[in-house]
């Protein structure tokens, strides 16, 4: 019931039950109208109007139950999403911390290795002179081989 979306739960509750009760009351008044002199001529009309209001009320009751079911489902989903977002944020913070810590450890280790290398550089370079081919081979292996690959013929 699209228009029920705009009504708060409490109003909806009152509106739906009031419609049923009004229908029943009008219907009963219509049934008893022949015994009440002032409205005895309106008996049939009151019964008709009462029946229609009652039918609407019953229909609204069904829709109301469905509407409440949807609202409960919606509230449950929102609650679940909030919890998941909270857990997701916590997981992100943990991963971020882990990455930063590990990268810092790697950097620290690199610094230590460079220090050792600096100390041993004299010894290392004393008896070894590299041929330019060795550098060429190393540089070739360090180049990203996929950097020059152009992918063609792939369509969505």
């Amino acid at each position: 019931m699209w228009f029920l979306n705009f009504l708060p739960d409490s109003w909806l509750h009152i509106f739906v039950h009031a419609t049923v009760i009004t229908g029943v009351v009008v219907l009963l008044v219509g049934k008893l109208a022949r015994h009440i002199p002032t409205i005895e001529t309106y008996g049939e009309i009151l019964k008709l109007v009462g029946s229609i209001i009652f039918l609407f009320g019953i229909y609204f009751e069904g829709s109301y139950i469905t509407e409440m079911g949807w609202r409960a489902k919606e509230a449950d989903l929102k609650h679940q999403i909030e919890l998941v977002q909270e857990k997701s944020n916590t997981a992100n913070v943990q991963i971020q911390y882990k990455v930063v810590t590990q990268i810092k450890t790697i950097h620290d280790t690199k610094v230590v290795v460079h220090e050792k290398l600096k100390e041993a550089a004299g010894k290392i370079d004393a008896e070894c002179k590299l041929a330019p081919e060795a550098i060429q081979v190393l540089n070739q292996s360090a180049k990203n081989p996929t950097a020059q690959v152009i992918v063609t013929g792939v369509s969505k």
Binding site: I52, L77, Q80, I81, K98, T109, A121, I124, A134, K143
Partner: protein, 89 residues
């Protein structure tokens, strides 16, 4: 009675389904993981010193370890977040 027919469209519209407005946003990635791994460092072709080569190789090894940390973190991030995302039902 004809006037009552005016109520018919309202009755029909009343049967429209409720459409719950709940949106779930896919979680964001930590900024550190959005940085691409750089290319490996090249050795100066004019050098003849082995220590210079070892220095560059050391830097490249570190680079690899950093990238590995990021890839592992991506796998962990995706596994965690997809499990959480799919847990909402």
């Amino acid at each position: 009675m004809k006037r009552l027919l005016v109520l018919l469209p309202i009755l029909l519209l009343a049967g429209c389904l409720h459409d719950p407005v709940v949106t779930q946003v896919f979680p964001s990635v930590p900024d550190d993981l959005k940085v691409a791994c750089p290319d490996l460092i090249q050795i100066d072709p004019n050098t003849t010193k082995l220590s210079t080569v070892i220095g560059v190789v050391t830097d490249n090894y570190s680079q690899y370890h950093e990238c590995r940390v990021k890839v592992d973190a991506w796998i962990e991030w995706y596994t965690n977040q997809s499990t959480l995302y799919n847990s909402v039902k």
